[in-house]
Symmetry: C2
Subunit: 476 residues, 2 copies
C-alpha cells in the first residue's frame, strides 16, 4: 500500500468507528503531515482519495469535513428460503430480462450493466484499435487455452490487492465471468449433486445449476453479514452438498460485503465437510471500502476455492474477458473450458492487459467507485421518496445494484408487466431464487449518472407500487 | 447463382464426369459465349473462377486446358471402430496437441489452423479497428443473447449457398464452432445418453461427449462416402442413441464430402429413429467443388438438424465467431449458451458482419480455396515422396487437413514424441477415436503456402517412419 493510501485508510477507519462523525471537521493537512511524518502532497493525495470514496467533502477555505451519511432506511430481513434442495426454474423470466433490455428505448433498470461512457475508458478503445495494427496476426490466431500470458500476468498482479498470491499459470482466462462460474461448477459437481448458494443469488449461476442437472440448496442470508454459516453447517450435515457458491464482496443482489472473520469461518467449514467454494468476485474491485476486502480465496490453504471474476462490471461486458483461479481443480476447469469454447477472443484480452499495465485500470476504478457511491445514495433517497411506506432497501458496500423489498404482497413480475407501457424494466426478485421466493423484491441498477429520466422512472415505479398496494387491500 | 457461376458450374460438372479429361483443351471463350448465349466477359469470368478452383489452366495463345489431377495414392480403408458405445479418453493427448503449438519455434503440422496471412483478410483488420471508433460504446455493451443482428443477417444470407432458407432469428452466434457444437450436444442429450459419431472424428466434439457424461458410438466411415448408413442403422436399432454427430462436408480429419443422396438418406434415418443430427459444417465453405455442397440441414424438414459452423477456418480462429442454426432445439441451445458464456464478444461479430457485407468474404474464400487446393496436391506429393511404401493418404474435397495412414505398427504418439527434437508436431490419430484406434494414423495441415521448412519437415517425418518401421521389424 502506498503512503497516501495508508494515511487515507487510517482516516477512513476513524470515520468508520465513529471517532469523527458526519459534518465533523477533519484535521488540517498540515497537522496530518506532522502527525504521520509525511509530505503535504501525500496528505493532499490521501484526502483526494477519501473524497473520491465519498467519505469526506472539502469546504472552501475551511478544510475537509466528514460527509454526512444518509439516514439509512430499514434493511431487508434475513432471507428464509426453502429448507431443502430444489430444482431451479424461472428461465423464461431470466430470458425476458435479458431480451427486454435489448429493445431500444427501454430503461433497463434491472440489468447488471456498468456505466461504459466514462472518459477513463478511452485508453481501452485506443488499446483495442492500436492493438489491431500492432498485434495483427496474433489477434487472428487461436489464443493459448489458458488465455494470453500478458493478461494472466496482469490479473495475477491485480489479485495481490485482494490478498492472493497467484502465479499467472494459476489463472485461466474465460469468456466473461459466466464461463468462469459455469466451468467451475461443472468441474466440481456431477449431475444430481447439490450446490449450496447464498439467497437471493445471481440468476446466472442459478441457471447453471439448472442446466447441469444439479439442485440448489438456498441458505438463509443476512443483508449485512452474508450467508448464514449456522444454516450452512446444518445443510452440510443434512444434504450431499458438493460445492458452495457465494458472492461475498459487493454481493449481487444484496450489496453486502461479508466480514473477514466469517470468510475465514466459511473456509474452515468447507474444509471440514470437504466441499469446494465457488467465489464470485465480479464486483469485488468496485468495493467502496479501501483497501478492497480480501477474497475468500486469500484464506484458502488447500486449493478448494475457485475464484471467479471478470472485467464485465469494472470495464465493459461486451469484451467478454473474465477469469478463474481454479486452485486444485485446474485440470477439470481447463477441460470444461476447452469443451465449451476452446479459447477466448484474442484481441480483447490483449487490450485489457495493456489497459491494466498502463495504470488506466486503477484510474478508472477510482472514478467509477466514486460515481457508484453517489449513485447509490441518490437512488436510495429516490426510493425512500417515492416508494410506499414499509419498503426496505439494501445498503450496498460496492458495485451498482440495489435490492428493494416491497411491503404487502406486491408481485414484482406483475409490476414489471405493468411497467412495460412506461418503457421501464426492473429485475424481478423471483429470478434470484430457485423456489419462487422474493416475489415482492426487485433489483435496481444505479450505475448511470443520475438523470431526470431515472428519477422519473423511480417515481413511476413507486406510484405504481402504491396503486398495486391499494388494489390488494381492496380485494382483501 | 450468377451467370458466370452457372457457366463455371456446368464446365466443372463435365470435367468431374470425365467428359473432359486431364490436359484436354476446353472450348474457346467465343464458342462458349455462343453456346450459352452470354457475353465474352461472362465466360472469361467463369474461366477465372475455374482457374481459382484449380480445375483449369490457361496456356498462352492457346486457350484453357483441364488441369491434370495428381495420381491419387491409395485411400485409407473404411474404418472399423468398436461395436459398442464407449467412454471417450485421451484428453491428455488433446491438451498436449493444443499446448504444443503454443510454443514458439514449433512447426505445428497437426493443428486445425488456417492461413491467416492472406492479403484478402486486410479489410477485416480494418473493420476491426474502424469498428472501434464507429461502434465505440456498442462494442462495450452486452451483445444480444442470440448475437448481433447484423451478423445473423449476413450468416442467414450465406447459408443460402448451402441450400438453406434461414431467418436471422433462426441463428444463434457462438464463441467459435466449439460452443456451437457443445451447446447443441447439451441441448439434445442427457448424461448417460449415447451419441453416434463418424469415425475418425474431431476431438473437440469427442471431448464434449466425455465432459457431458455421454458415450460415443463410433460408426464405420468410408473415406469417400462418409459415415456408413448401414452400420449407423444397425447401431440405432441396438443402442439408445440420442444424436448423430457428423462432419459431412470437407470432413475433419478424412476430407471427404458425403454425396447428396446419402445426406438425404441420413435425414430419413434420423427421422425414423427420432434422433437429432448435429452437423459440423466448419470447413464447408472451403469446399473445392463449386457451388459448395448443400448441407444436411438443407434437407431437414422437421427441424432436427443443428447446423454448427464458424469463421475460424475460413477467416481467423482468434475472433471466436461461430454460429448454430438449432432448428427445433432453439430454446435449449439458447439456455445452454446463456449458462456457458452469457454472450459473445461484440466487436469481432460486428467486424465479421461488415467484412461479409462488403463482399470481402467471397473474395477471400476464392483465394483460400485455390491456395488450399494447391497445398493439398503439394503435400500429397511430398508424403508420397518421403513416407514409407504402403502409406495411405486421404483425398480432401476441401479444407486444409490431410489424413495419413501408416503401414505396419507405427505408433504416431511415439512418432510425435520422437519428432520433438526436430521441433515438429503432428496430430496423432488416437485423438480422433474414443477407443484408442488410429494409432498408426496422423493428421497433417496443408494450409500454409508450401515452404522449404515444411518440405523438410515432411521428409524428416517420412524418414523417421521408415526408421521406426525397421525397428519394429527387428523386434519381430
Amino acid at each position: 500500500m502506498k503512503l497516501y493510501e495508508q494515511v487515507a485508510a487510517e482516516l477512513s477507519l476513524r470515520i468508520e468507528q465513529g471517532y469523527y462523525r458526519g459534518n465533523d471537521r477533519l484535521p488540517s493537512i498540515r497537522a496530518l503531515s506532522r502527525e504521520h511524518g509525511v509530505s503535504i502532497a501525500t496528505v493532499q493525495e490521501a484526502y483526494r482519495l477519501l473524497e473520491d470514496q465519498g467519505l469526506v467533502q472539502p469546504k472552501p477555505k475551511s478544510g475537509y469535513y466528514v460527509r454526512p451519511r444518509p439516514l439509512t432506511p430499514q434493511m431487508p430481513e434475513i432471507s428464509r428460503p426453502a429448507q431443502r434442495p430444489l430444482e431451479v426454474s424461472h428461465w423464461e423470466h431470466v430470458l425476458d430480462l435479458l431480451c427486454a433490455s435489448e429493445a431500444p428505448g427501454i430503461l433497463a433498470l434491472g440489468r447488471g450493466m456498468p456505466d461504459i461512457s466514462a472518459t477513463t475508458l478511452k485508453p481501452l478503445l485506443r488499446a483495442l484499435s492500436e492493438g489491431k495494427r500492432r498485434d495483427g496476426l496474433r489477434g487472428f490466431s487461436y489464443d493459448s487455452l489458458r488465455g494470453s500470458p500478458e493478461l494472466r500476468q496482469q490479473v495475477a498482479r491485480l489479485t495481490i490487492d485482494s490478498g492472493c498470491q497467484l502465479h499467472p499459470d494459476d489463472i485461466v482466462i474465460t469468456t466473461g465471468c459466466q464461463e468462469a462460474l459455469s466451468t467451475s461448477m461443472r468441474a466440481v459437481t456431477r449431475p444430481g449433486d447439490v450446490v449450496a448458494v447464498d439467497s437471493p443469488s445471481f440468476y446466472g449461476s442459478m441457471q447453471a445449476i439448472k442446466a447441469f442437472g444439479l439442485k440448489a440448496m438456498e441458505i438463509p442470508t443476512d443483508p449485512v453479514q452474508g450467508i448464514s454459516l449456522e444454516a450452512l453447517e446444518l445443510a452440510l450435515e443434512q444434504w450431499p452438498i458438493r460445492a458452495i457458491q457465494v458472492t461475498p464482496t459487493c454481493n449481487n443482489p444484496l450489496g453486502y460485503t461479508m466480514p473477514e472473520i466469517r470468510r475465514r469461518q466459511l473456509v474452515t467449514l468447507a474444509q471440514r465437510f470437504d466441499v469446494a467454494i465457488i467465489e464470485d468476485d465480479i464486483y469485488g474491485d468496485l468495493s467502496f471500502a479501501f483497501p478492497r476486502p480480501n477474497t475468500i480465496k486469500s484464506f484458502d490453504s488447500d486449493g478448494r476455492v475457485l475464484l471467479c471474476s471478470s472485467f464485465s462490471k469494472t470495464l465493459a461486458p461486451g469484451l467478454r474477458v473474465g477469469w478463474v483461479a481454479p486452485g486444485r481443480y485446474g485440470d477439470q476447469v481447463l477441460h470444461m473450458k476447452y469443451v465449451g469454447t476452446a479459447a477466448c477472443a484474442t484481441l480483447p484480452q490483449l487490450a485489457v492487459a495493456e489497459f491494466i499495465a498502463q495504470g488506466s485500470y486503477e484510474r478508472h476504478l477510482r472514478r467509477m467507485r466514486a460515481q457508484y457511491l453517489q449513485g447509490r445514495d441518490h437512488m436510495i433517497a429516490a426510493v425512500e421518496r417515492y416508494f410506499p411506506a414499509g419498503t426496505r432497501i439494501s445498503y450496498p458496500q460496492g458495485g451498482f445494484l440495489l435490492w428493494v423489498e416491497l411491503p404487502g404482497d406486491i408481485d414484482t413480475l406483475q409490476l414489471n408487466d405493468r411497467l412495460q407501457s412506461s418503457a421501464i424494466r426492473i429485475g424481478p426478485g423471483v429470478l434470484f431464487s430457485a423456489s419462487g421466493k422474493y416475489r415482492n423484491c426487485m433489483r435496481l441498477n444505479y450505475s448511470a449518472k443520475p438523470t431526470e429520466a431515472i428519477e422519473h422512472a423511480l417515481q413511476t415505479i413507486g406510484e405504481l407500487c402504491i396503486r398495486m398496494l391499494r388494489e390488494i387491500d381492496r380485494v382483501a
